[in-house]
């Protein structure tokens, strides 16, 4: 059987591995040699990961029916409340200001 292998490559140490393409080979040994050539012959990759296509599970949908955006940054709009709080702070009695000998 001819097998499809997905190739992930790391450009430089410290960087994430990214999907770079795929190749077809009779087995892992051939796949490794071919991946090394296609994605590394110019020393352009720090590392390669080879994964048989059937081992990759794609997940492509992420429902958000009830708008649970409290879990995200865009779920918060603090502008109004911040404005209110600032206004309140600036119009309040300057209670602590200049107080001396506060008991």
């Amino acid at each position: 059987m001819r097998r499809v292998f997905e190739v992930f490559r790391q450009e430089r140490k410290g960087q994430p591995l990214q999907h770079a393409g795929s190749l077809v080979a009779p087995d892992e040994r051939f796949a490794e040699l071919y991946a090394r050539e296609q994605y590394g012959r110019r020393q352009e990759s720090a590392a390669l990961w080879l994964v048989p296509r059937e081992a990759v599970h794609e997940i492509g949908d992420f429902p958000d029916e009830f708008d649970l955006k409290y879990r995200r940054v865009d779920g918060y709009s603090i502008k109004e409340r911040l404005r209110e709080a600032r206004e309140r702070a600036s119009s309040a009695e300057p209670a602590a200001e200049g107080a001396e000998g506060a008991g």
Binding site: V24, F30, L33, E37, R41
Partner: protein, 223 residues
């Protein structure tokens, strides 16, 4: 010409001509992924030839390109094995495997040389050829795994066997036989080695094509 220069030219010519033969597969290898991989092997061989020619050129007061392209065919010191025109995959794999096995033995000896330049270049070549050996082993394993593959490979090896022995000097030939027989799991025929010194007919045609552009301009022209 010193013995050292002669040795360098033997190695360089082997790598150049084999690299040339391997380049004949460009674009027509059995499948695309293999085509790309095989091309790297050919480039490495030409790269080795270049480095070896440069060492010899320093001694002879000439250039690597002049040594590679400006000699007459009879002046080349390559082994007949690399000269054969065999654009057939089983023969190609057999030749690669036999050559790499022989070369490994040759380089192992050279790495021990008291001459630091020779030992150094042998070590570098050996490191790069690890990948060539991996490639050859991979193919030999695959071919031996089926009846058809085995029979094609064995036929090719038998044809090339006397030439393979001719790559090496006398003292290394028993080692080559031992390794090859172990790998194939059978004895190889007793044959007269076909050594360096007399060129195959195929070399003349190769040389014509290899040097035709270069010869079309006066010596010293830049390309």
């Amino acid at each position: 010409m010193s013995a050292r220069t002669d040795l360098l030219l033997q190695l360089a010519d082997d790598e150049l001509i084999l690299g040339w033969r391997d380049s004949e597969w460009t674009g027509i290898a059995p499948f695309l992924e293999e085509d790309v991989a095989f091309s790297s092997i050919a480039q490495n061989e030409i790269g080795h030839a270049r480095a070896l020619y440069e060492l010899a050129a320093a001694e002879l007061g000439t250039s690597a390109d002049a040594l590679a392209f400006d000699r007459r065919p009879e002046e080349y010191r390559c082994a007949p094995l690399v000269e054969l025109r065999r654009l057939e995959w089983a023969r190609t794999i057999a030749r690669r495997w036999l050559y790499e096995t022989a070369d490994e033995l040759r380089l192992a000896a050279l790495k021990e040389s008291p001459d630091p330049e020779l030992a150094g270049i042998a070590a570098k070549m050996d490191r790069e050829e690890t990948y060539h050996r991996l490639h050859a082993e991979m193919w030999v394993d695959r071919l031996l795994a089926t009846e058809e593959g085995r029979s094609r490979l064995e036929e090719a090896v038998e044809e090339l066997w006397p030439y393979a022995l001719g790559v090496l000097d006398d003292e290394l030939r028993p080692d080559l036989r031992r390794r090859a027989e172990e790998r194939l799991g059978r004895a190889l025929p007793e044959v007269e080695p076909i050594p360096r010194g007399v060129h195959e007919a195929d070399l003349a045609e190769l040389w014509e094509e290899m040097t035709m552009v270069r010869r079309s301009a006066p010596a010293g022209a830049r390309w």
